[in-house]
Structure formats: structure tokens, C-alpha cells
């Protein structure tokens, strides 16, 4: 709806192609399971099945150039693809390999690394997780303490990473580690580690919903070959920065948010209790969601070349997370005491949903409070936006 009259003929045709594809391949059970999923992050099994369907067109890697096995879509096409997938309830794709590792390997990898890493991400052989945060370091990546000591042709890793999504499913992890004791940025390096290596252990961290999204990963004298370095030793900060920058433009939340809002309105329409005052709130949410959809498009996707793209990514992050949380909150208000009952049908929609019995909308509400924390808390995002405003003022 957002695009009527706004798309070029080619873009409109592409959207039709996407819609036709979704109508044909997206089965109702898959959609229902995704809607009922309690966790915020992609389900490994369902996303695998969905990727298998997308792979013939390369749409599981729309942003990756054709020469590397992706579809090589333009930013707008990629946006259309992901907006439509989100709107129609397609399973979310696991981002670590597709969005982070593959493009970073293409940018920084040796030819040998590219040849090994990229195909294995695209064909699903490798499932990656991220090793950035450490206990006590929060959003302050420069304080990374995990140490990689060079002995001969190998590094030996000691330390631990925390808030690692999907470490229980992944066979690979990329880590920001310290290769020198100095507290400078060039003391950091970027390494690729096999989760099966001796000395790697995973401790689950349960959310207060009981669900299992995150882990702590311990490294006890884990030996890895020097070839596991991505980029030069001491260049880890640049690699990590590149990887984090990908986030802008890689994710499209508009379609998924719109879907959640539509489902919320359906629930409100079928609600037994009178909700007079809530419809005004729903209308205000709808308006802000419309605003978000345009913002996401113009800041995140139509404007990738802009100079203050960092701040714009922060704006998008703040806006989608806070909108999503407000949608979730209204869901509780609309559902009322029924929320106290566990909905048995909704359990186990993801292999990560192991928690306390409760309806999906409630678990979603709880788990999604993390949205404004992970990937740099919204407080940090506000600091970043302010930094850009300050620079703008000086110009």
C-alpha cells in the first residue's frame, strides 16, 4: 500500500513477482508458526526450510552480488522483497551468516577465505553466531578482554563472550578478540572460530520468560590456526565496524511491524470487552507506523550514500524497537485476563521457545523488551543521534 504510485514500472513488476512467489510458496502452517513464535530471533529449522525455497532465485541473499551466489538486488528491490516477506509472515532469516559474515568475508577475506566461507553460508552448511559482547563490557566494545595469544602458527583463545544469540545452534562463531595487551583499538583482531573446537563451551542464559535466545560462550585455551584471522591482526576494529554498519540497510522491519499491527487490530475487532479508548491509541499507532515505514525507506534504504548514515541507522533502531514494544503492550491491554491462560497450541513454535507456559503475545511482549537493549541500547543510540546533530549544527 505504501508504494502505490511510487514505484517505477520495473519495481512494481518486481513486487508482483515477489507477491506471486509468496502466494505460491508460503504455506499457512509456516506463517502461523512464525506468528506464534515467542522469540524475537529467527527459528533455525523454519528459516532453513524457507531458505531452501528462496535459494533458486537467490532471494535468501538478495543483497549479495550474483558473482558470489546472491541475487544482486538493488537496495529498493531488496527492501521490497523483505517488506513483502515480513508483511506476509514469511519466516525471518538468521542474520549472522547471510547479513554479517558473508559480506564481511567478501570485503576483508582472502580469496581462499571467500571461497570457503561464502558458499557455505549461502548453502546453509554453516550457521554462525556472534562473539562481540563480554561480561561487564555492555555496548563498550573497545573494552573487549578475551585474549588471543600467538604461539607458533596458532592462536590460543581465553575468555568468554556473552549474549550470544543461537550459540546452541551454531557451528561457527566470529569473535572480536584482543591480540595485544595495550588498551588501543589496534590491539583488536577479528577471528573465525569453529564451535566444535576443544575448549569451547556454551552456557544457556534463560530469559525471564524462560525462553532460550542467548548464551555465554567460554573459551578455554582454544587453539585456532592463524588462517582463522579475518583481515589483518590488529585490524579487528575496522572489520567489526564494517560488519556493524551492514546492519543499516540489511534489515527491514516495516513489513513485520505492519503485520503485527494488523493482527492486533483483528484481535481488537474480535474482542468481547468494549475498548472505546483503545481505538484512538490504535489509530495513533497506525499513524506512527506509517511514519516509520516511510522513515525506514528514506533513511535506511533509499539513502545509503548519505553522510550521517550512522545516526540514521540509530533513528531507525530507536523507532522500530519502541513502536514494536508499544504494539506488544496494547496487545496485552486488548486481550485482558485471557492473557493469564497459557495457550498450549502456541508452545514450541520455535526450538528456542522453551519457557514458561503463556500465550505467544505475552511471551513476545516480554522477550521484545530486549529489542531496545541489544545491538546498542536505545540510550547509546540517542547518544549517537545527538553526536550527529552536533556535527550538523557546526556545519
Amino acid at each position: 500500500m505504501l508504494f502505490a504510485g511510487q514505484l517505477s514500472d520495473e519495481q512494481a513488476q518486481f513486487r508482483e513477482e515477489v507477491r506471486a512467489f509468496l502466494a505460491e510458496h508460503l504455506d499457512a502452517g509456516m506463517v502461523a508458526a512464525d506468528d506464534a513464535q515467542r522469540s524475537m530471533v529467527a527459528d533455525p529449522e523454519r528459516s532453513k526450510a524457507w531458505i531452501a525455497l528462496l535459494r533458486p532465485r537467490g532471494w535468501h541473499a538478495g543483497h549479495i552480488a550474483k558473482e558470489f551466489g546472491g541475487a544482486g538486488l538493488s537496495p529498493i528491490e531488496n527492501y521490497i522483497l523483505h517488506y513483502e516477506m515480513g508483511l506476509h509472515g514469511a519466516p525471518a532469516l538468521p542474520p549472522m551468516g547471510l547479513y554479517y559474515v558473508a559480506p564481511t568475508a567478501i570485503e576483508f577475506g582472502t580469496q581462499a577465505q571467500r571461497d570457503e566461507i561464502v558458499p557455505r553460508v549461502l548453502d546453509g552448511s554453516d550457521y554462525w553466531c556472534q562473539g562481540f559482547s563480554e561480561p561487564g563490557s555492555g555496548s563498550d566494545l573497545a573494552s573487549v578482554a578475551m585474549f588471543a595469544e600467538r604461539r607458533g602458527d596458532a592462536y590460543f583463545l581465553n575468555g568468554s563472550k556473552i549474549w550470544t544469540t543461537d550459540a546452541q545452534h551454531a557451528n561457527k562463531i566470529f569473535c572480536l578478540v584482543r591480540t595485544r595487551r595495550e588498551n588501543t583499538r589496534d590491539a583488536l583482531s577479528f577471528m573465525l572460530v569453529d564451535m566444535a573446537a576443544a575448549g569451547v563451551t556454551v552456557r544457556p542464559i534463560r530469559l525471564f520468560s524462560g525462553d532460550h535466545d542467548f548464551n555465554q560462550v567460554f573459551f578455554d585455551d582454544v587453539e585456532i590456526p592463524v588462517e582463522a584471522l579475518l583481515g589483518e591482526e590488529g585490524n579487528g576494529w575496522a572489520v567489526a565496524k564494517f560488519l556493524l554498519d551492514i546492519e543499516r540497510g540489511a534489515f527491514v522491519f516495516g513489513g513485520r511491524l505492519r503485520r503485527r499491527f494488523v493482527r492486533l487490530c483483528e484481535r481488537a475487532q474480535n474482542c468481547a470487552t468494549p475498548l472505546a479508548g483503545l481505538w484512538d491509541k490504535l489509530a495513533q499507532l497506525d499513524i506512527e507506523l506509517l511514519a516509520y515505514e516511510v522513515t525506514e525507506l528514506r533513511l535506511g534504504h533509499a539513502a545509503l550514500d548519505r553522510s550521517n548514515a550512522d545516526a540514521e541507522a540509530s533513528v531507525v533502531k530507536i523507532e522500530w524497537t519502541e513502536l514494536a514494544q508499544r504494539i506488544d503492550e496494547l496487545h496485552i491491554a486488548i486481550s485482558g485476563p485471557e492473557t493469564l491462560y497459557a495457550d498450549a497450541a502456541a508452545r514450541g513454535a520455535s526450538t528456542r521457545d522453551e519457557g514458561i507456559a503463556m500465550p505467544d503475545w505475552l511471551a513476545g511482549y516480554f522477550n521484545n523488551r530486549a529489542a531496545s537493549i541489544y545491538g546498542g541500547s536505545n540510550e547509546v543510540q540517542r547518544n549517537l543521534v545527538y553526536r550527529a546533530l552536533k556535527q550538523q549544527r557546526r556545519r
Binding site: S139, L207, F208, G336, I356, E379
Partner: protein, 373 residues
């Protein structure tokens, strides 16, 4: 008009705090979630179950406000024991009922902590509030009553030894309140554990046969008394939320004061200080509304104080969400885990908002009482 805790109030608060320290100090949010019979016995021995019951009924004869203060003091336990629902629903109704052999026996066992009693009144999951129709029927058959119907959102319905079931007599509008033992033939109770460690049940009554003396008698219409019990429940839930919100504030302040980022204690950031202040202001608002609801409940009874109880219950929802959201946010990722009490309090506050009439429902009550339309 003294807002300081009176000595007897302070004594009650102190004994609650001691119990919490001895038996409820947990560091993980999913610690004990099972009902502990020993604890319940202790509540009985301390006289807490009978706080607001008449002395003639074996209670302490204290005003509703004292019970409310006790509930607030106990809130940091986020306990699995159903103290709030038992004292405000079962306790309130047993106390209000006219003496009879059945009622006296039931109350004695309840007061001694030997038995639990659950109110089975609501009939639809989505409408657990005030003034909803009761379709359950009790049909007189000789000296007996035959009960047919369905009940929902019955707190403690599974673990209770007896249920207090509301029903219409024959086809009349007159409402009855019937004591039904858990093992009565034709009674089917489906237990549901709630996400915050409480327990509720759906109840089917398929021709449950009761003797006439299962009927509790009241000096006033039964519907009025049930309504009052529900108001009392709402009042105490608001106090539970206040105590929980205060506990969250304390945890959040401590966390910010201890944790460093970029070499600075988080609490040194002015933006976070102002957010703590806004949390405190919200708590102060709820404290004031609860002080008002307490005073008016003591003076005029919970039914007359319904607008003030509604105000407190609505604000408890608003403040509860505010404190829950901010506490998690200020804690960061660790606040999302089951390792801290934060999540446990979050769940408790969420459940409190859904029980005893939601904000939407109480706003309807408030607007009607205050002629705001």
C-alpha cells in the same frame, strides 16, 4: 490524617520484612514457584490470614488498610503462596457471611492455614471483572441444590479445598454463594499455572448436588458482597504492585550505582538520573492514591470507595508498566534474564494488571462514578 506509619502498622511491616529476609531472599527470578505449606502455616500463626477479619470470627479485627499495608510489605517476595487472593476473596466473604455450622467450620480451617478456599464467580476468561452476568444455576430439588454451570479465572481453584460458587437460584435473579468441596461429584476443575507462579482454574459444575446448608447467608444481597470482595481484591493487588514497583526501583538504582560503562558509573549520567526521578514520581503518585483508597475504604467500606480503588488500580497498572519497562531497560541485557528478580517482578506486575479488573475496566468504573462523560 497522619501519613506516617503508626506503631502498630510499623510492627506489622517489620514482621513482614523479617519473614521475607528469612524465607524469601532469592537471587534468581524463577526460584521457588511451588506453594509452601509450611510458609502458609506461618502466615496463619502470625495471624496474618485474619488481619481484617472480625475478632468475633477469630481475626485481629484490624481495618482493611492494615491488611493493605501488610500486602505491600510482603510484595518483594513475589511469593507463590496466594496470600492476596485468599485474604481478599475467601477471607472477605467468609468474614461477611452470617455464622452457621458450615461457615464456621470452613472459616476455622481456613484461618488455621489448614485449608484454602477459592471464589468461583467469573464465567468468561475475557471478562473477569465487575457486574458480569452469572449463568450458573442452582436448582432446588427437595432438600438439595443441584448446580450446573461453568466458571473461569478461578484463582487458586485447583489447590483450594473448597470453592465458593456463585449461582442463580432456580430461574430467579437471586444470587447464592455455595460452599462446594473440591471432591464433590460432578465438579471438574482444570488447573492452569499462570506465568507469574499463581494458579487459576476453569471449573465445570455438572449437576453437583449440595445439601441446603452449603448456602452461605449474608445480611446483604450476595451480589453486593461478591462485588465488595472483588473491590477488596483490586485494592490489595494495587498494594502488591506498589510494593513490587518500589522493589524494582531499588534494584535499578543499585544497579546503576554499581555498574560502569566507558569508565563511568552509569548513575552519573544525568539522563538516567532523571529517569530514576520519573520512576520515583510515579511511585509517589501511586502511594498517594493508595493512601486515599485505604482511608476511604476504612471510613466507608470498599464498596463506597470504589472510585478511589479504581483510581489506585488503574494507576498501579500505569506505574507497574512504567517501572517494569524502565527497570529492564536500565539493567540492560542482564535485566532480561531469569537470574535477577527484575523479570520476576515484571511478571508479577503484569499479572496484577490483568487480575481484579484491568485498567480498561476500572476506567469505566471510575468514569461512571465521577460522571466523566
Amino acid at each position: 490524617m497522619d501519613f506516617h506509619a503508626a506503631p502498630e502498622q510499623q510492627a506489622l511491616i517489620d514482621s513482614a520484612v523479617r519473614l521475607l529476609q528469612d524465607h524469601y531472599s532469592q537471587t534468581t527470578s524463577n526460584a521457588r514457584t511451588e506453594f509452601d505449606a509450611e510458609r502458609w502455616q506461618q502466615f496463619a500463626e502470625l495471624g496474618w490470614l485474619g488481619t481484617a477479619l472480625a475478632e468475633g470470627n477469630g481475626g485481629l479485627g484490624l481495618p482493611e488498610s492494615m491488611l493493605n499495608i501488610l500486602v505491600e510489605a510482603l510484595a518483594p517476595a513475589a511469593m507463590p503462596e496466594p496470600f492476596v487472593s485468599q485474604v481478599s476473596l475467601a477471607g472477605y466473604l467468609l468474614n461477611a457471611a452470617s455464622p452457621s455450622a458450615r461457615r464456621d467450620e470452613c472459616m476455622a480451617k481456613w484461618l488455621a492455614g489448614d485449608e484454602l478456599v477459592a471464589l468461583a464467580h467469573h464465567e468468561a476468561r475475557e471478562q473477569a471483572c465487575f457486574g458480569q452476568p452469572v449463568h450458573t444455576r442452582a436448582t432446588a430439588r427437595g432438600d438439595e441444590l443441584v448446580v450446573q454451570g461453568h466458571k473461569a479465572v478461578v484463582l487458586d481453584g485447583g489447590r483450594a479445598d473448597r470453592l465458593l460458587v456463585s449461582a442463580r437460584l432456580n430461574d430467579s435473579a437471586a444470587m447464592l454463594l455455595l460452599l462446594v468441596p473440591q471432591d464433590a461429584p460432578g465438579l471438574e476443575v482444570t488447573r492452569h499455572a499462570t506465568f507469574d507462579g499463581r494458579e487459576l482454574a476453569d471449573v465445570d459444575l455438572n449437576g453437583v448436588v449440595l445439601s441446603r446448608d452449603a448456602r452461605l447467608e449474608f445480611a446483604e444481597p450476595v451480589a453486593t458482597r461478591i462485588d465488595a470482595a472483588l473491590r477488596s481484591f483490586a485494592l490489595h493487588l494495587a498494594a502488591d504492585s506498589l510494593g513490587t514497583a518500589k522493589a524494582l526501583f531499588k534494584l535499578s538504582h543499585e544497579h546503576l550505582a554499581e555498574r560502569e560503562q566507558f569508565g563511568v558509573k552509569l548513575v552519573e549520567f544525568q539522563a538516567l538520573q532523571h529517569r530514576l526521578v520519573d520512576m520515583q514520581l510515579a511511585i509517589t503518585r501511586l502511594e498517594s492514591l493508595l493512601a486515599l483508597a485505604r482511608t476511604r475504604s476504612d471510613a466507608d467500606g470498599v464498596s463506597s470507595a470504589r472510585e478511589f480503588i479504581a483510581a489506585a488500580k488503574i494507576q498501579a497498572g500505569v506505574v507497574g508498566r512504567h517501572l517494569a519497562h524502565e527497570s529492564v531497560q536500565l539493567h540492560g541485557a542482564i535485566g532480561m534474564t531469569e537470574e535477577l528478580l527484575v523479570g520476576r517482578y515484571f511478571k508479577r506486575l503484569t499479572a496484577n494488571e490483568l487480575l481484579g479488573g484491568t485498567g480498561v475496566e476500572h476506567l469505566r468504573v471510575f468514569r461512571a462514578q465521577r460522571a466523566l462523560s
